[in-house]
């Protein structure tokens, strides 16, 4: 489980935040791009 695997929670959290932002960019901003085609 992640509790045993993560040794530096701050690093994991920073990456998780960036990943949520990447999903928002990809899902939301590309929706607009597709709509305009």
């Amino acid at each position: 489980m992640l509790d045993q695997q993560i040794s530096q929670p701050e690093l994991a959290t920073s990456a998780a935040c960036a990943m949520f932002e990447a999903f928002r960019e990809g899902l939301q901003e590309n929706e607009e791009a597709i709509r305009l085609r």
């Binding site: 998780a16 935040c17 960036a18 960019e25 791009a33």
Partner: protein, 191 residues
């Protein structure tokens, strides 16, 4: 580091389990992401569903490319096995039929750097949680007695579980609108 993760908001990491720390620190972003996607609209027709898959592909394709370069180190450190979603998305889009968007460029999102196992695990926490949300919708469709719809490998999961059970990884992984499953069933059965 994301602007939404500030030291002043941080819970001291050593006082709680890493997973709980992750959940608390990313809860706001998780909720914002869910609110930004109109799942009911995306599952309302084949066209909007296909668009949703393309948008997921715009994230998963670069994500998996970046992850591949660090997966060996990650595997050594954690015994994690990652199952490709890109393959599932491509199969689903193929099943739904050709579309002019297939060769159109899409915005490439900014991804975290996977230069250490903890960063890769943090990103996988988000990806696996997203997968769980799709499986919850699938269960709803199953309860409605529907067969597996066409082009649903990605959203409903590959049927392959990670070596480590991810159940419960997100406290609100099931907060996606489950009624969307029924709509999905309706539109995709007619493909």
């Amino acid at each position: 580091m994301s602007a939404d993760f500030r030291k002043s908001d941080a819970v001291p990491a050593l006082e709680i389990r890493p997973l709980e720390f992750l959940r608390k620190q990313t809860g706001k972003l998780h909720a914002q992401l869910e609110a930004s996607v109109d799942l009911n609209a995306s599952l309302g027709s084949v066209s909007t569903y296909r668009s949703l898959l393309y948008r997921y592909l715009s994230v998963y394709r670069p994500f998996e490319e970046a992850l591949l370069s660090s997966i060996a180190e990650l595997h050594d450190a954690t015994s994690w096995r990652y199952h490709s979603r890109v393959t599932l998305l491509e199969r689903d889009l193929l099943a739904l039929g050709p579309d002019f968007r297939a060769n159109q460029p899409m915005r490439r999102p900014t991804l975290p750097k996977f230069d250490n196992p903890d960063s890769a695990l943090g990103a996988l926490y988000v990806v696996e949680g997203s997968s769980l949300g799709g499986k919850l919708i699938y269960r709803e469709v199953q309860r409605a007695g529907a067969r597996r719809p066409l082009g649903s490998r990605f959203l409903f999961g590959s049927g392959v579980s990670n070596r480590y059970c991810m159940e419960g990884i997100h406290g609100h992984a099931g907060s996606a609108d489950l009624t969307a499953g029924t709509r999905h069933q309706c539109c995709l059965r007619n493909v």
